[in-house]
Amino acid sequence: MIFNRTSFNMKAKKMGAGVLCALLLCGCGVDSAKSSKNIEMKSTSFFAMDTVMDIQIAGDEELLNEAQQMVADLESKLSVTSENSEIGKINKDKIGRLSPESATIFKGAMEICESTEGALDISIYPVLKEWGFTTGEYHVPDEETIEKLLSQVGYDMVRWQDGADDTVDVVLLDDMEIDLGSVVKGYTGTALSDFFKENGVDSALINLGGNVQCIGTKQDGTPWKIAVKSPFPNSDSGIIGVLEAEDIAVVTSGGYERYFEEDNQIYWHILDPKTGSPAKNGLVSVTIVGKDGLMCDGLSTALFVKGRDDAIDYWKSHKGFDVILVTEDGEVTITEGIKDSFSLSPEYANSTLTVITR
């Protein structure tokens, strides 16, 4: 009685399944086959870059592991809190070389610093530290301290030049420190998105601590629905509006992300590099929608600092992105590129929604 048992078993199992379905008309105990989606979504969630990262992709689980590794690599190069990172070393020695990828991010950040005339400034870090936003030990510094620190703040005082093999050499003044944190997550989102696309993923949603980057559409072909958080603490739904998005980055900056209260005054972490104090120019949330995550990330901070009118002017004179601005009195302003894909959430349906055209 020597049969090839494996092949017998295989056939028998299929037959068995048929017999069984007939037997168990009620379907008890039998898991009906999962609905016929193309590819199963795989997801992961981990802590990195001081935030929570959620990634879901229609693709292989191994890609998620590699993605997490990529994030860890970037973090180890760029972390401002680590003395051994490239940035940490430059801040300590006031001179140093950035490897090609860090150099790309550095140059991207510098471009935004320049184009926004310092509304974004990678050298604001010492002031941010003084306020305690990097450690959680918040306090309001006195004016003298801020003045002194501000004398060493200015992206235009950062000396840099292209080195060999796409590297960049950076020289800082004695008390200067730089931080690429305002663009790193945006860059990482786009980098991960490119990595997934190269590996054949055509549907993915990446959320790096609130910085969203999506690939393609959902598997059923409908666009990703990306909520923009309400900056108002008394919100019931927590959502000011929803954006339907395909293949794009959506980055929001708001005072609600990190703040503290002292003497009934709210102080948030987005500082105006000109004053060294929290940027209060009427905006409470700025969302940038665009292809380039690094630009979206940097601009979301810079336009928050600029305030509504200057932000609109900036949008009118620059291309490649759209904007959602929320002012402190609850008015929402969007730009024409997303007028059909953005809608206010039911809670804010009665808010004023203005569409800006070029």
Binding site: S45, T135, I226, P233, G238, R258
Partner: protein, 125 residues
């Protein structure tokens, strides 16, 4: 075949089917209201609590980290925490799948599993 045979067969089938239907119904009722609050600390699941039962839970870690999780009226929120930034305390209550409260200093994430579907896929914030 005797009459007793039929009684036996009929009896067994009726009892079994009754229990089976009961199980199904019970399961169904339990999965629709089975939304859970999931607490994850540094990537590891720490606790699961039903969202439909009001509760107050101290989440205390060995190094003195403390977050108090409250579940009230089908919503979960952090009522108290000894983290430096207190962002988690100020987060509005969550009740939908995909929503989460994060306490970064304590590497704690509170999220909802098996609850109502939110109409959005993710939140930019």
């Amino acid at each position: 075949m005797k009459k007793n045979d039929l009684i036996l067969i009929g009896g067994l089938l009726i009892i079994a089917f009754t229990i089976l239907v009961g199980q199904r119904l019970w399961q169904k009722n339990n999965t629709t209201s089975g939304a859970e609050v999931v607490v994850v600390i540094d990537g590891k699941e720490y606790e699961r609590l039903p969202l439909n039962q009001d509760a107050s839970k101290e989440i205390q870690l060995s190094d003195g980290q403390l977050n108090i999780l409250q579940i009230k009226d089908g919503e979960a929120f952090i009522s108290e925490a000894n983290c430096p930034d207190k962002i988690c305390e100020k987060h509005h209550p969550i009740s939908y799948n995909g929503q989460s409260i994060v306490c970064l200093p304590h590497k704690l994430v509170v999220s909802i599993d098996g609850g109502k579907e939110m109409e959005v896929d993710t939140i930019a914030q």
